[in-house]
Symmetry: C3
Subunit: 428 residues, 3 copies
C-alpha cells in the first residue's frame, strides 16, 4: 500500500518526472531489430516514456531515432523520405541525418544558413540481441551497453517478442516480480506443461503450495527467493532475478528448456511494451521451439495480424472460456500465460490505485522493488549512481535449487546466479 503521492512518483515517466529521469539513466529496449529491415527502410513510429519518436536505418545502415515531429512546422516524419543518408520531411523537404543534424533545407534560399541552427532531437542507439536499444538520458551519463545474457548470445539461441499492454509499466512488471501468482493464475498451465514433466522441481512445487518468500538486494536489483519444504533438511528454492529498472528472469525447471525473461518498458503512463524473451545459454533453439514461440505460446502472445496488439484483449474479455475454467484447464478462464497476466493486470485499470491494496508476506518482492525504484529515483535526482546500470549487474541468471535449510539461498546458489558464458546453467 502506497500513498497517492508515492504512487504518482512510481508511475509517472515523462521527461522531467522523477521516475522518468531515473529510467532515462538506462538503455531502453526500443524496437525489434527486424522492424528496421535494412538501409533506407520505412521509418517506424516509436513511443517511449511519453516521447514520440521515429526510427530508421539510413543508406549506410546506421540507426536514427529522432523526434517524430519536424523542427520546421511539426509535421510527422513518418511520412518522410528515407534516402541518401537522411530522413526528409514530406512537407517542405527539410532533411535530417541520424544525429539530428539538418543536412538540407531546400525550401530556403541556397545561401541560407538557417539549417545550421536547427537540431532535431536524436537519441543514441545500440543493436544487441535482436533489439534496438535507445539511450534517452544526459550525454555524459551513458551507461555500458546492455549485457543481459540473452542480449549477448548468438542469434540462434534467442527468441524475442514484444506486445502492447494497456497498463502502466510498473503494474506489468509487478506481475513479473511476483512469483506468488504463478501457483494460482498459471496453476494448470504449469502443472500440465509437458516441458516441465518429470523435473524434480515440479514435484516439489506441487508438494508444497504455500512457499515462503525471502527477498534480498542484489547489486543490480533484487533476488526473490521462494522456498518450499522438501524434507527435514532441505528446501527447494526458486530464485527470480529482478534487474533494475525493468528486467526479470523466470526461474527454470531443469536445464533442457530455454530460459524465460521479460522487460517492461513505458510507452506512456497508461501503456507499456511487454518484452518476452526465451534463450538457451548453450545451444540453439530448436525449430519446434521457435515455431511454438512464433505461434505465441509459452510466455509469448498471439497477435492481431500486422500489429503488436494481442488477440485476447479487453474488448473481447480476453476470450474468456468459462468451460475451460470450470474444467480446470485454465485457472481464470483465459488461455495462455501472457494473457492470464495481462488480463488481470489490465483489469486493475491503466494505473492501479495502490492506496487500496492490502499486501501480504508474499508481496515482499513487489514491496522491495518499489522501494528500490523510489530510492534510486531520488539518487538519480541528486546525480548519484544508480543500480542496474553496469554490465556486471546484467550478468545474472535465475535458478531453482535444493539447499540445506541452514544455508542462506544467496550463498548456496551464488554460482548458479551468475552468468558463465558458454557454461550450462543450473536448475533442477
Amino acid at each position: 500500500m502506497l500513498s497517492h503521492e508515492q504512487n504518482e512518483r512510481l508511475v509517472r515517466t515523462n521527461k522531467g518526472t522523477e521516475m522518468g529521469e531515473l529510467l532515462r539513466r538506462y538503455w531502453i529496449p526500443a524496437l525489434l531489430a527486424e522492424e528496421l529491415s535494412g538501409p533506407d527502410c520505412d521509418p517506424v513510429r516509436v513511443q517511449l516514456l511519453g516521447e514520440k519518436l521515429i526510427a530508421f536505418r539510413d543508406s549506410d545502415g546506421r540507426i536514427g531515432l529522432l523526434d517524430e515531429f519536424c523542427s520546421h512546422r511539426t509535421a510527422s516524419l513518418f511520412f518522410g523520405r528515407n534516402e541518401e543518408c537522411g530522413l526528409r520531411c514530406a512537407y517542405h523537404g527539410w532533411k535530417y541525418d541520424v544525429d539530428g543534424n539538418c543536412v538540407d533545407m531546400p525550401s530556403e534560399p541556397p545561401e541560407s544558413r538557417f539549417k545550421e541552427k536547427i537540431k532535431q532531437k536524436a537519441y543514441p542507439t545500440v543493436e544487441r540481441g535482436g533489439v534496438i536499444w535507445a539511450y534517452m538520458g544526459e550525454a555524459g551519463r551513458m551507461p555500458e551497453p546492455p549485457a543481459l545474457e540473452w542480449a549477448t548470445l548468438p542469434p540462434g539461441q534467442v527468441f524475442v517478442s514484444k506486445r502492447i499492454q494497456e497498463t502502466n509499466f510498473m503494474q506489468a512488471m509487478e506481475g513479473g516480480i511476483d512469483s506468488s501468482h504463478v501457483s494460482f493464475a498459471h496453476r494448470f498451465d504449469i502443472s500440465d506443461d509437458p516441458m516441465h514433466a518429470g523435473t524434480p522441481g515440479l514435484a516439489y512445487l506441487k508438494a508444497d503450495t504455500r512457499p515462503r518468500f525471502e527477498v534480498i538486494e542484489s547489486d543490480g536489483g533484487l533476488l526473490i527467493g521462494a522456498r518450499r519444504n522438501v524434507d527435514d533438511d532441505q528446501y527447494y528454492w526458486r530464485i527470480t532475478q529482478w534487474i533494475m529498472p525493468w528486467y526479470t528472469i523466470i526461474p527454470p525447471f531443469g536445464t533442457h528448456n530455454p530460459l524465460g525473461a521479460h522487460a517492461w518498458v513505458p510507452i506512456d503512463d497508461e501503456t507499456c511494451w511487454a518484452w518476452s524473451i526465451n534463450y538457451h545459454p548453450t545451444r540453439d533453439l530448436t525449430e519446434a521451439e521457435l515455431a511454438s514461440m512464433r505461434r505465441g505460446e509459452g510466455i509469448h502472445a498471439k497477435y492481431i495480424p500486422g500489429t503488436y496488439r494481442t488477440q485476447a484483449n479487453a474488448g473481447n474479455d480476453y476470450l474468456i472460456d468459462r468451460d475451460a475454467q470450470r474444467a480446470k484447464k485454465t485457472f481464470s478462464g483465459v488461455e495462455g500465460i501472457a494473457a492470464q497476466d495481462f488480463s488481470l493486470q489490465e483489469s486493475m485499470g491503466p494505473i492501479v490505485d495502490r492506496t487500496k491494496e492490502r499486501l501480504g508476506t508474499s508481496d515482499a518482492g513487489i514491496i522491495m522493488a518499489r522501494r528500490r525504484l523510489l530510492a534510486a529515483a531520488e539518487d538519480a535526482a541528486e546525480g548519484k549512481p544508480v543500480p542496474g546500470d553496469q554490465a556486471d549487474h546484467h550478468r545474472v541468471r535465475s535458478t531453482s535449487v535444493l539447499l540445506p535449510k541452514s544455508e542462506p539461498f544467496q550463498d548456496g546458489a551464488s554460482d548458479a546466479l551468475m552468468v558463465r558464458p558458454g557454461e550450462p546453467f543450473v536448475s533442477i
Copy 2:
C-alpha cells in the same frame, strides 16, 4: 429550468453525493435474476451508481454482490473462480463468501491470520419479480423489500427487460413522468395500436389533443393526472404513478392488455439502466404477448445480440426512416416506443443542461418530481425518513377513468389507484 447547481445536485449519484446517498436509501434493481443462472454460475459485472460490482450465486445458490476488485491487489473478480461457496480471485487465490468475508488466503502461510482483517465490500440482495435487487445504503436503514405489484406477482404474469441508455437516469425518468410527449413522439404508435383499438380511452384521447395536467403528491411519489374533455359533465383522466425514487406505471387502455411500468437506475452519471416491465394482475401473459415482448416490441427494445445495447443507437442515428416519418407511420422517423424515447433523450447529451429549458404547464410532473427528489435528498442528508421506501408506497396502480368534472381525480380514482391483490384493475 434549474440552476446549474440544482442540476448537479439532481444528477450526481456516486457515493458521497447528496442524490447518491438518497438513492442508497432504496432497494435498487441490480440485474435480471436470469443473469445469474444458478449455483456456481459465471460471475457477472454490475455497475450501479458509479460503483463497479461483481454478482454471483454461490454453491448454495446464495447471491453475492461484491466490490468487483479484489482487496489484495485490486484485480477484477470477473476472472474469479466461483466454486465451493465463494468467489476466488484468479490472481493469488484469495476467496470471498457472499458476505465479503475472506474465507481463504492460500498465498499466505497457513498460520497467517491476515485474512481475518480483510473484508470485501458486499451488499445485501433480494430476488423478486425476476429481478435481483441490491441495498447499498447504511445497514441500519434498510427498507422493507420492494412491494411493487409487478415484483410480487407469480412469474407467469410478469415480463421484465432492461436496456442500457446513454443518459443520466433523471433524463430517462423524466420521459416516463412526462405523459405529454406521448401525444407527439408516440402519436402514430398509440393511435394505430390494435391492442388499444375500440377502447373508449383511445377515442377520448384522440378527441382532445391538448390535455390539462394536474399533479399532486402521493405518499410515495406523485400522481400525475392528464384530463381531457369528454362532455359538459365529465373528464377522461389518465393517471400516472411515479414512485420514489425511479419507478413509473403507465396508465392503461382498458383491462385486457398487460400493464406497463419502468424503472430508471443510474449505472454511472452518464448511463442508466432502463427497466421495462409488462404484467397483468389477474392472469398469465399469453404466449403471443411474451413472444412480442421478447422480440423487443411495445415498451421493450431490440438488442444487439449478446448485449443489453439497442440495435437503434446514436451510432446509426437510431435507424431513422424518413419515409416512415413522412408517411406518418412514426412521428420522429424512429421505430418503436422505447427507441423513440431514448433517441430524443440521448440527443440532449448525456446530462441535459437544465439551465436552458423553457418549461410549460405540461411539464408540471417533471417539475414536481425534481422538487420532491431534491427535498428528499436534503431530508436523507439529515437522516430523516424519505418517501417511497415503504411497502405501502409501492402498492399502487395507474389508471384511466371517467370522472365528474367537479370531482378531484385523486378522490374519484382512489380505489383504482390502489393494488388489490388478485382483483382486476380499473381502466377504460
Copy 3:
C-alpha cells in the same frame, strides 16, 4: 513561432472568443446546397464554430438554420418533422419557422401565449455557387453577400466539394497559404500532371526549385508572390490570393484548366470543413472534368460512402504506399493532393503547438496571415471594420505571369489579379 497565448487566440472560435467573434463578421460556407434537397427535405445537422445547428428548407423552399436543440427541453430537432412551413420537434410538438419563431405549441392549452416568449436561435442564410452560407454575427453588421468569383458563376462552370479534416481550421488554411510545400509534398503530382504538361509555367517551376517569397497586404487579405528566375531580365511569378478570413485561390498553369480554390471553416476547434472548388470563368466544366472531380481527384478527395470523411485517414495511415513513395510516384507515399495535405496537417495533432515551430523565409505568407487575423480580431473586438467583408475584396484572381525583374509583382500583375466577369483569366 507564436506564444502559447497567441496560439490560443488564433485557434479558438467558439462564441465569445476573440477569433470566433471575428469569424462571425463574415458569411460562412455552411453546407452544400444539394444537402437540402428541396421543400420539406430531411433536416440536416450542421456544426459551425462550435455551434450545433439544424438546417432545412421549409414548404416554400426557404432555408432555415436553427439551433439544433429545441428551446423546450433541448431535444434535437434532427428528429423533427419538417412540414407545413416549419420544423416540429418530435418530443412535444413545438414548431419553429425558418426565423426561429415558435409557431405552434400543441402541448400547452389553446389559450396559452407561452409560445410568443419562445425564440429559437436562427441564423440568416444565402444560397450562392452551390453553397448555403450563414451569417452568425450581430444583426446590424451583416456584410454584403459573398462575391467570390466561383460563387457568382453559372452552375455549369463550378464544382464544389467539402470534406471533414481532423484539425483546427488555421492549420488547414496555413497549408493553402503556404505555396512552398507544393514543391515537396506534391512534387510528383504537379510535375507529372498531364493537365500542366507543356505550359511554360511548369517548365519555369522545374527549372528553379528554390523560389523567393514576397507577401504584401491586399485590401481583403494577402497577395503571396513566389518568384523564380527565368533569365537575366525576368522572373516567373506565381501569385496566391488569400482572402480574409479563410479563402485561398491556387495560381494556375495556363488558362485551359479550371481554377482551384479553397475555404477552411471551423466545425469546432479540433475539426474543420475543407471546401474545394474548381471553376472556369469563361466556360462550362466538361463532363470529363466533372467525372474526375466527382471521383475525388485533383484537389478533391475520395469519401467513405455516405459521409464527408475521407477514405484515407489517420485510422489507416492515409493508405500510405511506401513502394509508390520509393518509386517517386508520390513524395510522401500518400496518394492525392488533398490527402497529402491533410495527412501531414493532421499528423501535427488537432491543434498544432506553434510555440515549437522554426519558421523560415518561405513561411512569410503564414506569418503575415496570422498577424492579419490577430489584428483584425482586435479590430473586431473594438467594433471596427475588418478586411475581406466587402464584395470588392472577393473579386480577385490568382495568376502566374512573367514580369521584368524590376517590376513589383502587384503592379505588373494588377490586371490579372482582378476578376473581370466574362473575361478570360491570365496565366502562363
